[in-house]
Amino acid sequence: MNWWVKRTGQALFTIWAVVTITFVLIRGLPGDPGDRIREQAQRHNPDMSQAALERLIEARIPASYDDPVHVAYWEYLTSVMRGDLGYSTFRRAEVAPEIASVLPWTVLIMSLSTALMFAIGLGLGALMAYKEGSRFDTAMTGASIFFNSIPYYVAAVLLIAFLGYRLSVFPARGTHSDATDPGLSAHFIFDALYHATLPTLSFVITGFGIIALTMRGNSIQTLGEEYIRVAKLRGIPDRRIALRYVGRNAILPMWTTLLISIGFMFGGAIILEEIFQYRGMGWLMFRSIEHNDIYLMMGTFLIVTIAVVIALWIADATYGWLDPRIKSGDDSESY
């Protein structure tokens, strides 16, 4: 089968599966949804009034709940395809445009941090492999492990406390200052990047370590290959060996790491945005949880997942161009 068709089919299948999961979750888990919400509310907030409880139940149970499952499913599927994700009771607006207005901010900090993290990690890892066993290598290995063991949200809290409040060098919250108007002006772009600094730093500081360590391991392994020895014997300049022979082969296995980190960063962004009060997808998702706004919550989940699926599809598609050796077919024998 053509690899492209297969990969695209898989992406579409994933999106369909996620829409179905979303439907199942909105439609509710087994048992009467009203009772479950009532019991939940009583556990967390015993002195909630009866009227408020009824309103809550009404908000969380979709109107189509009385329809038979297949009808409701078809309706949901078609409305999602049309881009209709339901009505948000908390924002008092359609869900889809609400999400579209915050998505760019999440993509901004996501791509900034991924790019920086990999640039620093790959460079440092290669350098460590080159100086393997030196004091620099030992120190950086220790530092990489240490920084990697700090959860990104802990780093975020520390950065806010020190750089945000104590020293006040970077803004601790928000996507841009109120004074600047969104637009394509240099001033606005600078302001947005300035506000994105701390969220990005929290990811980069805690994430570069594992990339550096993996890159170091890969490079050391590649340095031991015989073609490197042959290249040296042929008198190829060191610089060319480092970039073309070692670098390229050591980076290739990292592609999978990149794929995995895309999903991870999108998830992490949700936590970070809440800490930084950064008005992106995560911020919106937490507001929807706070206000029991189930359509908004499922909408953000759906959009985040679709964004990840698309990102992975692009990354996968470019891999064949990076490494022409990938096989297209499935050549394993069935037992």
């Binding site: 996620v18 391991g217 069935s334």
Partner: protein, 388 residues
Amino acid sequence: MTVNRTDEPSDDEPGSGDAGSRFDGSALFDRDTDGTDREYRADGGQSAGGGQMFSDSEFTDVTMGQRLSEVFYQSIYEPFVVAWEDWRTKVGLSIISLYLLLGAVAWVSTSEFLILDRITIIEPARGDGPIRLAPFQDWSYPLGTDMIGRDLLAAMIHATPRMLQMILAGAVFATVVATVVGTLAGYKGGITERALMTIADVLMTIPGLPLVIVLIVLIDPSSPYLIGIIIVVNAWAGLARTIHSQVLTIREHSYVEASRTMGIGTPTIIRKDLLPNLMPYILINFTSMARRVIYDSVALYFLGVISVNTIENWGVMMNIGYENNALIIPEVSHLLFVPMVFVVGLSFGLILFSQGTDRLFNPRVRARGSGSTKSKDDEEITTGGGAL
């Protein structure tokens, strides 16, 4: 021959051993008068008599105990000795043991089980101390107290058992599911492989944290075991993928083919031929799953997605600190920093441990570390190098 397969898989066996057994085989082969089984001999079977190689008992029968001790020796003891040579493993394991000890202390203190009922090493935190005491001021409250006078050290220690339960449930669930799916898909191939790997691919693409948040909000679990399992609800997929690709290479080895030719069933082949090779790898991934459970659970408690009223989790304590403006007011900042130190400490221990065991999978790193360790790969390289 049937049973001796268990000790053949290791790549670490020096080449001389192989040659020896092969030599034995050919010697027997010469003595053989009955020519029927000749073609089976060539791969180093060690049977003594001719013609009855599958029913031979004297050499090939291994008792259950021997087999168990062999598996233990090869997949636990030997890797452990190799890994222990690295300082990272030593430090990492000590840190992990320290947390297990804390968990045990808290468990004994609160347990109502027989005699343990009467032993209380550290009292659970109650609000009876001075309010907002900073750490290292009063040694009856070493890590200070919170806004209502609860001892932070006691609270931290008593949160440990729940954390450990959650970590254990999540890590066990993820590794077991991943191993079963990965080996089955890798070994069976065909439609099973395609179906299982498609499921894994789909789950892998869904970003974990948003899915976990949605599930937790809708299910609203309170059992630490359930929370642990929900957190890794799709994390196992990535591990299943890597195990799958490892199985794909292992299943091409001749000893697996030999088992298959002899008509041994799939579950037995997976258990005896494939799993012993994968064991170290699975153990390492157990620690990374554990780390993931710590990260995500603390984050979810910290941001109040999982709601509890007691301070039974490090994340909840961070939440309390955060809500009380520990970021802005330096006097209460320890409410935030003390739990952070505990989280980072455990995670640091787990990373060190898995980094230290890295040499188990990377023969070349291993050979550099200690010159005496030899592996098949290295031998091939040195002979190749000699020819150059």
